[in-house]
Point group: C2
Chain length 623, copies 2
């Protein structure tokens, strides 16, 4: 092990930081013992680093802890939440007593951090995401010409997560010199020692290879910690890593450096012994019960109406291309719009935006997890962030989207190339589960346009909406169905074919809507008129309005979708109907029922049972 | 750039490999031009490496290309499929003419490789997964004392994927010296140059930091390639990386090293020019149309009945602990069982297995993507692979599970700590979308036990089943409901409370089943008997049998689940009923409707609307 040491700042400063670190350790232990659960030993390895950050390095205003010009802190090792809460308390954001409400149902101080807590920008607790969020915050600061510096504290267990190496490569590539990563290398994971234990030089080499200015320090030697923070702040042109050798449970000899103490609160007797060893306790009065939860979270900026879509009716345009056109139109009127792509912007068509606004486009390369979490970091600074890739590859970032929802993040995602209609590339490139995934995101809106006009209008909707919005686009070119001034409310659907004689309602979206329309023409000529619905908004659904349509065809319903049978349009419709006390009297569900194959799009639509021919058959069976 | 050169083998060998490389380039171009799509330039950068592998380094029997003692090859950059198919053809697995059926719907040679193709072990095409699969194959070979060596070819674009760095760290940690990674560094991604272009030393440092014996070579100099392959084979004690500087489209000067040629087949005129430049074409006759698709894929080994569960009725045991007990019991009778965990085996309880059979337990550390793909590699060697972590963290590996399904892999996954019932740790640790995710996996079975006996029996079911099986376990201890000899068929459910007077059917699973049982007791005492169903198998569901139960209570149905409303038990039930032409007459769905919070499990069940009290209210509203 190679340890950098340095003279460091004045002895009174050092003494002050040491006392703060002592208090952070004690508060972390007291609060977890009071809660009966939590991770005190993970807090204790980080306490000196945290004290150095909050009481020496960071520009932090406890009266405005989420100030856009203040420095930001991301606790990537979210299970060490009590040490963060203790630091916020000691900094004056809330009283020490508030920390003692840890994990109570009535407290904003949850088991892992969320942005409802002042000073927190994104939820953590799923490991390995914090550096990406920090990179997003750092880019956001750069775009805003803000002096903000971003600090991220990681554990060592989480350095096994690949996303860490996506994020550090990204930060190195974009030379984010306003980003400092502190790695708390305590050598013990949850179940056993970490892969590299205290092989500090392995970590050093890894971070250096990512383009980080890297130093290895003793993470419990306060002067060394402060000097390293000073050097990091002075570094220009590259992000910095401070790799700190630490001890899990440092400060309490009964547990320090020992296995078997992950995620265990101390007994009252142990707590008393620990406090004695640390030189005596804090006098924390009962908490008065006042909540410090943030009442206002970042919202997206409003923007004037962009130029309207401009498509001739019947012209063949892919919805993915319309998405790209919309981004460019919105970019012209919304300077806060920033777009990321996963090295497929020439397929998702965000390259149209990238060419028009290169300063607001960030290449995410083939690293979807990082891309999504960077967008969460950008959103926390009020940026209107979009991220896109093939829809199937967004399945790489489901955990990051889940955490984005817990972060109450405003995030627009677009997945292109859905379903078997992509054709020859085969199943590895086909998204057949994306609707199931994105419907099961708290508070999400799921949009699935069938033509260029709706794709543009729904992209604009996505850019205006707070929360997580998913837009599913298709690869093939499809005819323009709507006039350029058509509105697409959310929730909502369009009835594209209807008559008083309709025998069956057919719901489609995307490519299958066009199959349903072909089927309607064939059926009409055979004397079986059907109602055809474009369910461009898959979540939420106005179940009552939809039930009226289905009832108009005596409850006979066919749903046809380019998705697995589970969790997609069909189940969304059944669920929406059931919530209104309704149900189809007769029902056929056409979806992709078994593993697809390479082939021509039209061949695959037919083989996998979702072409016009199959719609005709299903209608005929019901009518 | 630092390039290693070497004397290399005889000139006739070199000439033979060069000719093979030339033929691979030509076949790759011909087949993509015939298909009208595909990635010829990505094949051409890799052709010399591929020729060196298949015709010099690898022990490969074209008559038995998936032989357990042969060497294995994984094309991590799956879009270069044509060069793999060309190599298989030139090796004699099928005739050259078969390559010309590339991407046709009737051909096994799909746009990206799948294990239906002889010599392929796992599907690729979602980038960054091949090294993990290769590591699984290498561990499988080691466990079987097989001389197999595993070769993985990656692109450089995909080296941005974090999973690559999870996998290489894992391979380095386990000192997999039977694994060689070849990185085809052609410097061009899909939409723009890669992050590091031809900075070969960056890649060298990255691989070295992971514990790889690493060398940088000129990937088009055949003697150098062969010498590097020789050195890799001779390396003991660590995996090897051959970092090859290459040129995209190498061999055809119109496109070589130029942007804008990713994923584009050449025109016929271009093809002719390219073939001329390469020294003349191949004479490929028309393909006779014979399929070479594998007819037999790896199956799990059968095993004798393990010791029966041994729980006293009413005893409180967490289903997660029963899973661990079952693994140990199965491990005693099935020597092919191998278990991985994501550094949470003391929470998922696979540590019970790990302690009993340490040689068959592999710590996956906190790297879920790699863990799942390693299991796919193990399964390809006939290992009965289980992988577990908190259910919420399996959302990190959705793409890997998706690819496992395309791989026709036999894979048992277990996710613990589902739902709000985990309590104080808060939403980042709660899986509320896992049923939606795993239901939307092709051919999956989704199991959700409510007591220890069913958890053990369903774990055994999972170990016997081919395909992907997901087991959802819960954190809290719950009473044993079933006798130790109870059977749990798939599909299936148990009716735990019933009478001829039942007013409403209530379906629960896991923790909510116990809430439903409490509600039934309360309601019975109030004169409202209900039917209570344990839906231990969420996919598939026998809709007809379930409909009979619901009809017995006049179609009145309550579903209660610890999951988001979307894609879980409720929608699975509605969908199963609808497929049989049935629907509930009156329906209430109790699920977690908004973002949860830290708190005590019982508090959260109540606040989020899925406790016994809410079941009573819902039943009362319907009855």
């Amino acid at each position: 092990m190679s340890v950098t040491s340095a003279a460091g700042p004045s002895s009174s400063t050092v003494a002050n930081i040491k006392e703060k670190a002592r208090r952070l350790r004690i508060l972390s232990m007291m609060s977890t013992t009071a809660a009966g659960s939590g991770h005190p030993t993970s807090c204790m390895s980080a306490a000196d680093l945290m004290a150095g950050l909050f009481f020496y390095a960071m520009k932090f205003d406890p009266k405005n802890p989420n100030s856009p010009d203040g420095d930001r802190f991301v606790l990537s090792k979210g299970h060490a939440a009590p040490v963060l809460y203790s630091a916020l308390a000691e900094a004056g954001v809330f009283p020490d007593s508030r920390v003692m409400t840890l994990r109570e149902v009535s407290s904003e101080l949850e088991g892992h951090p969320t942005p409802l807590i002042p000073g927190v920008d994104a939820a953590t607790g799923s490991l390995g995401q914090g550096v990406s969020v920090g990179a997003g915050l750092a880019i956001g600061a750069r775009l805003a010409n803000s002096p903000t510096r971003v600090y991220v504290l990681t554990g060592d267990g989480e350095l096994a997560e690949g996303q860490i190496w996506e994020a550090t490569a990204f930060a190195g590539h974009y030379k984010l010199d306003n980003l400092t990563v502190l790695a708390d290398i305590n050598a013990l994971g949850q179940s056993e020692p970490t892969m590299y234990e205290h092989q500090m030089d392995v970590y050093r080499r890894k971070f250096e290879a990512q383009g980080f200015a890297t130093e290895v320090i003793d993470g419990h030697d306060v002067p060394t910690v402060l000097a390293a923070l000073d050097r990091a702040k002075a570094t220009k042109g590259q992000p910095q890593a401070i790799i700190a050798r630490t001890e899990k449970g440092h400060g309490f000899s009964q547990v320090a450096g020992k296995q078997g103490w992950h995620g265990k609160a101390f007994s009252k007797d142990q707590l008393a012994a620990a406090i004695k060893e640390l030189g005596g306790g804090l006098d924390v009065p009962p908490d008065p019960g006042k909540s410090y939860a943030r009442t206002s979270l970042p919202k997206r900026a409003d923007f004037p109406a962009p130029a309207a879509p401009d498509y001739a009716a019947g012209k063949e345009v892919a919805t993915r291309e319309a998405y790209g056109n919309a981004l460019k139109r919105i970019g012209a009127v919304n300077p806060r719009l920033v777009v990321l792509s996963g090295d497929v912007d020439n397929s998702t068509f965000s390259e149209i935006f990238a060419k028009a606004y290169p300063d607001r486009f960030f290449q995410g390369y083939i690293a979807e997890q990082n891309m999504v979490s960077v967008a969460v970091g950008l959103a926390a600074r009020g940026v209107t962030a979009f991220a896109d890739t093939f829809a199937c590859f967004l399945s790489r970032a489901v955990d990051e989207v889940r955490m984005a929802a817990i972060s109450r993040s405003n995030l627009s995602l677009c997945g292109s190339h859905c379903g078997v209609s992509i054709g020859e590339d085969g199943p590895s490139q086909m998204a057949l589960e994306d609707l199931a995934i994105f419907r099961a995101v708290s508070g999400s809106v799921v949009l699935y346009p069938s033509d260029a006009v709706s794709a543009e209008r729904l992209t604009e909707y996505s850019a205006r909406r707070d929360g997580i919005t998913y837009l599913r686009t298709s690869r093939p070119k499809t005819p323009v169905l709507y006039s350029n001034d058509e509105k697409f409310p959310v929730p909502g659907f369009k009835v594209l074919r209807q008559s008083a004689q309709d025998r069956v309602t057919v719901i489609g979206a995307g490519i299958t809507l066009h199959e349903a329309l072909k089927a309607a023409d064939q059926l009409k000529s055979k004397g079986t008129p059907i109602r055809v619905i474009d369910l461009y908004c898959v979540k939420p659904i106005d179940g009552k309005a939809l039930a009226e349509q289905v009832q108009a065809t005596a409850g006979k319903l066919v749903v046809v979708e380019d998705h697995w049978p589970e969790g997609g349009v069909g189940e969304a419709v059944l669920s929406a109907l059931a919530q209104t006390g309704s149900a189809p009297a007769k029902y056929r569900h056409l979806a992709v029922g078994h593993m697809p194959h390479s082939g021509k799009p039209e061949e695959l639509l037919d083989i996998f049972g979702i072409s016009a021919r199959h719609v005709v058959d299903a209608v005929t069976a019901l009518a």
